[in-house]
């Protein structure tokens, strides 16, 4: 009785789908954001706060000038040497007198250990290139990670990132890496 409805021509379906596909290809991105994570220090509430006195031997002063030259504790270094220098500074394996002091600390899993009081101070000029700044940050982060991996390997025979949270905290307390960024100086003149 009822007439058969004619079939809808679906040959243009492909065109419609292609159109949508091209729209999504053009208007979206696939890149995943990656980067170096940092936490800024809050602005001190009172103007005059006595900066805690730190002995000279406990500070690794890294200066970067406007020509992207690196000066570490008064010594001109290349960027590739920075990692070893930082690791040596934090570990102070020979207990030498011009590297940081250590303090006896009790840390879970490790017991009583000597923890370095070292502090990395980073200062750059307004004319330093961003690329160099990131390189320095990267090397410092790499030094920190290698130290943590070393300790984690000794204790658990595992890499730092494979440990559970308590273990990670313990390792972090064992090889602390404090980086303080000094207020910028304008050494290289107005830029």
């Amino acid at each position: 009785m009822a007439r058969k409805t004619p079939e809808i021509n679906s040959s243009s379906m492909a065109d419609i789908a292609f159109l949508l596909l091209i729209f999504f290809l053009v208007s979206t991105t696939m890149d995943i954001d990656t980067g170096i994570y940092k936490k800024l220090p809050p602005i001190p509430e009172e103007e005059e706060i006595d900066a805690p006195k730190v002995k000279q031997r406990n500070v690794l002063a890294i200066l970067v000038n406007r020509n992207d030259d690196l000066l570490v504790n008064g010594e001109v270094l290349s960027i590739s040497q920075l990692r070893e220098k930082t690791k040596e500074f934090i570990l102070n394996p020979l207990n030498s007198a011009d590297l940081p002091e250590k303090k006896l600390t009790t840390i879970p899993y490790f017991g009583d250990v000597m923890v370095s009081k070292g502090l990395v101070s980073l200062q750059n000029d307004r004319g330093t290139s961003y690329e160099m700044y990131i390189k320095v940050q990267d090397e410092l982060a790499a030094a920190s990670r290698e130290l943590k991996d070393e300790k984690a390997m000794q204790k658990w025979n595992m890499k730092y990132e494979d440990l559970d949270e308590d273990q990670q905290n313990a390792v972090r307390d064992y090889v602390p890496m404090q980086i303080s960024e000094a207020e910028p100086k304008n050494v290289g003149g107005k830029k």
């Binding site: 596909l21 999504f24 991105t29 940092k38 961003y130 910028p184």
Partner: protein, 155 residues
């Protein structure tokens, strides 16, 4: 060969295109799922530096982006060739950052506001001066979580 020439005059059967829409739809869904919408149109050239010790930035909806770089050529006449800051879709100055962070906070749910991360997408040849200024402004706005956007170094 003569064996195959039997139906020489017969037309080749057409390949069925009925499954073409399905294939294209599959592609479409793949791209819809795996990509995100472009939020802003860049007015500055940004080529972020590369680094090894990088982390992935989780939760893209809790990230606000600050772009710094040399204006693209079409803006060179009006904006010059010195690195400029771009917030949302327009060129800005360092003084706008606090208002920008406040607006970004306002746009998020209350319980998520203090989890906001600022991602600095800065061109690698920029000088540190402008970044130092931005960091000071971020500290003033007490937006302390910062991410320096970098590429992964190709080994």
């Amino acid at each position: 060969m003569g064996k195959f020439k039997k139906g020489g005059s017969k037309e080749l059967p057409e390949i069925s295109t009925a499954s073409l829409p399905d294939i294209v739809f599959m592609l479409l869904f793949f791209f819809m799922v795996s990509t995100t919408m472009r939020e802003v149109e860049l007015n500055v050239d940004v080529m972020v530096p590369s680094a090894k010790e990088i982390v992935k930035l989780e939760k893209k909806d809790l990230v606000s982006n600050i772009y710094v770089g040399i204006p693209m050529r079409k803006f060179a006449k009006t904006m010059g060739t010195e690195p400029q800051i771009q917030l949302n879709d327009q060129f800005s100055t360092v003084d706008d950052i606090q208002a920008f962070i406040a607006a970004e906070r306002e746009a998020r749910k209350e319980e998520l506001r203090n989890k906001l991360t600022t991602s600095l997408k800065v061109d690698q040849y920029t000088k540190m001066g402008i970044i130092i200024d931005i960091k000071q402004e971020l500290r003033k706005a007490s937006s302390l979580k910062l991410n320096y956007s970098t590429r992964e170094t190709a080994e």
